[in-house]
């Protein structure tokens, strides 16, 4: 990037607000995904006006801008695919207000997810979306990706918990969408903006709904000798009208890897464990926990453990939350996939994933939000071997295709980013994608914001051409 532009950015933000040395740029070539792409400069605005000025400057010099929170994203959403400026929100990290009476909080985008829940705790409140990265990921990132987490089964994803946004548009105008109240007359632009992966506008303020902390939480661990019994339990639990707050599954390979590292007490010879949580008023949590135990036993669970206290609960969850770390110990790299299938298709899908693993010669572990059918297959590979990397991606694409074939979708919570934008035709027709392109252009006409994400790149860019499955997605077309 031209020296003059860097100097101009420094004048705007101070020299500590701009990074441009090769070693700094290198650090921002990565996020939580397996993708890589480097920016020409990283800037750290401290206030909305800084964001406005950066956008104006980018317009003057025709630079692209990529918003970034904590860089924990798993689809390359925060990477500067076409260079330009990475606008890192890490210094816009203030909780502006916690309005306990109305159960709202107003935050800057760089606020860390868990910090918000911690700050709200003294009022008996919390922010429901809880991605596994919640210790480091930011609310702005959650808004961009419409993040979920284990507890979204009962409470929904980010879009269910955001009532209003302030955003800087690509023409540097600041606009407000939604508000603090439950609804706003007009189109639901807040709902549209959430999950747009930074391709519409830059979010500078978020108004969220806070939930009351439950009175009682029951955490259960069911251990199975057969994966099929575990998945049947999941279907049966919901069939009985129980919606657990969380319902997580680890397959045999994954639970062994986790056990070796975390010592959560998973029997090494078991085929699957189900980690379930019910919460709410004491009487409801109690009855539901009893019912779940009964269902699990009926489906041949060899053991169902109940956490007796917070310490035991934390231990049970440790096995789930540190699972990725555990896998990191046994493989040089792993590729976390994110696909959704109808929960009734869990068993056949897992069998097909096993087949794919064998065919490609990879170990694929499965750890997933079983309750909502959100799979996270982990493909173990060695990234130093370019051929393995290429094959891991091919296996990943095949698994995604399988999810769509099963009536599911390409991503449940990680986003499309630059990982899956070329897979979009699996779910959407060219007409669907064209309308999405036009909607993006209504916000971001010259593609200055986060270029090369979400939608397939234009023809002639070597993109894969895939046929959509007719039964997938919204339509019956």
């Amino acid at each position: 990037m031209q020296r003059t532009i860097i100097r101009e950015l420094e004048r705007l933000l101070g020299s500590s607000g701009v990074l441009s040395s090769p070693e700094d740029l290198l650090l921002y070539e990565y996020d939580g995904s397996v993708e890589e792409a480097g920016p020409d400069a990283i800037v750290f605005p401290r206030r909305k006006q800084d964001v406005v000025e950066i956008v104006k400057l980018a317009n003057r010099y025709d630079l692209s801008i990529v918003g970034r929170g904590a860089g924990t994203g798993l689809s390359g959403g925060a990477l500067a695919r076409e260079g330009g400026i990475v606008l890192a929100f890490s210094r816009m990290n203030h909780i502006l207000e916690i309005d306990a009476e109305n159960q709202r909080a107003v935050v800057e985008p760089g606020v860390v997810n868990l910090d918000l829940s911690r700050a709200a705790e003294k009022y008996g409140l919390y922010f429901a979306p809880d991605p596994s990265s919640q210790k480091s990921c930011t609310i702005g990132g959650n808004v961009s990706e419409n993040s979920g987490g284990p507890h979204t089964l009962a409470y929904g994803v980010t879009s269910n918990h955001v009532t209003g946004l302030e955003v800087v548009m690509p023409d540097a105008k600041v606009i407000r969408l939604g508000g603090r109240a439950m609804e706003t007359p007009g189109y639901d632009l807040t709902g549209l903006m959430i999950g747009s992966e930074g391709t519409f506008a830059l979010v500078t303020e978020v108004t969220v709904r806070l939930l009351r902390l439950p009175e009682d939480v029951r955490t259960l661990l069911a251990i199975y000798d057969s994966l099929g019994d575990a998945t049947d339990s999941v279907v049966d639990i919901t069939a009985r009208g129980i919606i657990p707050a969380a319902c997580e599954m680890l397959d045999g390979w994954t639970l062994r890897a986790v056990e070796a590292y975390v010592h959560a007490g998973f029997p090494l010879d078991s085929a699957a464990v189900l980690l379930m949580e019910v919460e709410g008023v004491r009487e409801a949590a109690e009855t539901q926990a009893d019912e779940i135990i009964e269902v699990c036993r009926r489906h041949n669970a060899r053991e169902v453990r109940r956490a007796r206290d917070a310490r035991e609960r934390a231990l049970l969850w440790k096995g789930r939350k540190e699972a990725f770390g555990a896998v990191g110990r046994v493989s040089p790299s792993y590729y976390v996939l994110d696909g959704v299938i109808p929960r009734t298709k869990l068993t056949p899908t897992l069998l097909r994933i096993e087949e794919i693993a064998k065919r490609y010669g990879f170990v694929i572990g499965n750890i997933f939000h079983a309750g909502d059918g959100n799979l996270h297959p982990l493909i173990l590979f060695d990234h130093r071997d370019r051929d393995q990397f290429r094959r891991a991606r091919a296996a990943g694409a095949e698994i995604m295709q399988l999810c769509v074939e099963m009536g599911g979708t390409l991503t449940g919570e990680h986003g499309v980013g630059m990982e899956k934008n070329e897979l979009m035709p699996l779910m959407f027709t060219e007409t669907d994608l064209d309308l999405m392109r036009k909607v993006r252009a209504a916000f971001n006409p010259v593609g200055r914001l986060n270029p090369g994400k979400v939608l397939p790149l234009g023809k002639g860019c070597g993109e894969t051409r895939l046929q959509p499955f007719p039964q997938s997605a919204g339509g019956n077309a």
Binding site: D99, E101, N102, G148, V157, S159, N160, M169, V174, I175, R176, L177, G179, R180, A181, M182, E183, P185, G186, Y187, D188, G191, G195, S196, R212, G241, I243, G280, V281, R282, E283, A284, T287, V340, P342, R343, H369, D372, G373, N374, G407, T409, T411, G412, G415, V416, M424, M427, F428, D432, M436, K438, V439, A442, V454, A473, G474, G475, N476, A477
Partner: protein, 454 residues
């Protein structure tokens, strides 16, 4: 029929078949929107026909209003133009229902009641119980953002809609979202359709998540001498661990309307807080116990648990608040105002003052401590309109200046002729217009009905 009308009718018959085009004055009267009558009404029997109709309308620049059960057509400003009524009631199938996945795909013309019967067979429901459940269609419920008493627990269509298929103003069939309960693939264009009054696209398929029916439900009513007591009770519920499905508050006038409507004997001079809980017996007992004690602390005059018949009846009344108010006087002017709990006392006080100053009766329903339905009830004669217009205008101004989000959901045409039922557009207006242009570049879909003149 004029020659022009005849030639239009025959061209339309080519699109959907002669039996599905209505041009007679009697049939068209049923499609009137704010006193405007279309030249023809069409009943397409497939998505492809919807697309053909919109292609034709777009080419001919004919204004189209998508229509379902005709239960919410009173919402919106009078259309600038209105040539064709696009009645989707023949598109009324359940396209996919997977009870074990708790997911559902339906065509827009199916009525809520019909769908509800289907779901109940499998022990499930879709928490969107609207007014006029027998006639209201799912497409209409979504397009009108119809509200429901169970939003306290389940939210609204925004929280339940997983994906949609729709046809744009240029006749392009498109879709977004998916059919599974969790999905972030692509832009959530279907969110825009919620509450859009058909100004962006014609909905042809909706995918929802469904819920298991609760094993039991019970409704409790606490009565209060003033609104502050009722508010305090509701705030205590909000701050408690209880998880009710319904938390609605009625002012004495609304309670009186409900009593008149149901022949029941709900306290006519009291503010009522209506709370419904669901779950197993133990859970209901816990709610009964805690709610009783909270109601005492809030100085309730009475606290009662309703029997099942009373519960069903009152639930129905809560769903039907706006039509019941309209039944009391055809000049009823119903505001829908989204306000935070902390803003409610000031809003109620201002309403009381305004209604008194203009000598207007006023029925109030506060839903889920967040949305206020406020029905001004003038006598149904034109002499009352000037007061009604003034009172409505002042109330609108108060809401806008105090940061709550108002709209007038129902009112006589005379009011719409005198003032905008929508609040003035904000900083989002430019992008709103650009989005409208993307979906409907020739402005043929329900032109003029939406906020900001869209």
């Amino acid at each position: 029929m004029s020659q022009v009308a005849e030639s239009l009718a025959s061209r339309l018959a080519e699109l959907v078949g002669a039996g599905r085009v209505h041009t007679g004055p009697k049939s068209l009267a049923a499609y009137e929107v704010d006193g405007r009558r279309p030249s023809a009404a069409l009943l397409p029997s497939s998505v492809a026909e919807v697309a053909e109709i919109l292609c034709f309308a777009s080419a001919e620049r004919l204004a189209v209003i998508p229509i379902g059960g005709r239960t919410h057509l009173h919402i919106g400003m009078p259309p600038h133009r209105y040539d064709l009524a696009l009645d989707v009631s023949a598109l009324n199938r359940v396209l996919a229902y997977e009870p074990h996945d708790l997911t559902l795909g339906v065509e827009p013309g199916i009525t809520y009641a019909e769908l509800d019967r289907n779901l109940r067979e499998k022990g499930q429901f879709l928490p969107l119980a609207p007014p006029f459940a027998e006639r209201a269609t799912l497409g209409g419920i979504v397009a009108a953002a119809a509200d429901t008493p169970v939003r306290y627990a389940h939210g609204t269509a925004k929280d339940l809609l997983l994906g949609a298929e729709f046809v744009t103003g240029e006749g392009v069939i498109s879709k977004s979202g998916g059919r599974v309960v969790k999905n972030v693939t692509g832009y959530d264009l279907h969110k825009l359709l919620i509450g859009s009054l058909g100004t962006l696209a014609v909905i042809t398929r909706l995918n929802f998540r469904t819920f298991p029916l609760p094993p039991l439900q019970r409704m409790f009513v606490a009565t209060f001498a003033d609104p502050l007591g009722a508010m305090a009770f509701c705030r205590a519920i909000m701050q408690s661990p209880l998880q009710p499905r319904v938390v609605d508050v009625l002012n004495p006038r609304a309670a009186g309307l409900f009593a008149a409507y149901s022949g029941g004997n709900l306290g006519r001079d009291s503010w009522l807080a209506v709370v419904e809980a669901a779950g197993h017996e133990k859970v209901l007992e816990r709610h009964a116990r805690d709610l009783a004690s909270m109601s005492r602390e809030a100085q309730a005059a009475e606290f009662i648990a309703l029997d099942e018949d009373q519960r069903e009846h009152l639930f129905g009344c809560l769903c039907e608040f706006s039509p019941i108010a309209f039944g009391a006087t055809s000049a009823a002017t119903v505001f829908r105002i989204a306000a935070l709990p902390s803003a409610l006392p000031a809003l109620l006080e201002e309403t009381r003052k305004l209604a008194a100053r203009h000598a207007l009766d006023c029925a109030i329903l506060i839903r889920a401590l967040g949305v206020v339905y406020l029905a001004l009830l003038p006598p149904a004669n034109p002499e009352a309109y000037p007061e009604l217009v003034n009172c409505s205008r002042e109330l609108m101004t108060f809401c806008v200046t105090s940061g709550v989000a108002p709209m007038i959901e129902r009112c006589p045409l005379e009011i719409k002729n005198a003032l905008d039922i929508w609040p003035p557009p904000g900083t989002e207006q430019e992008i709103t217009q650009r989005l409208k242009h993307v979906f409907d570049p020739h402005r043929i879909l329900a032109p003029g009905r939406f906020r900001g003149g869209i």
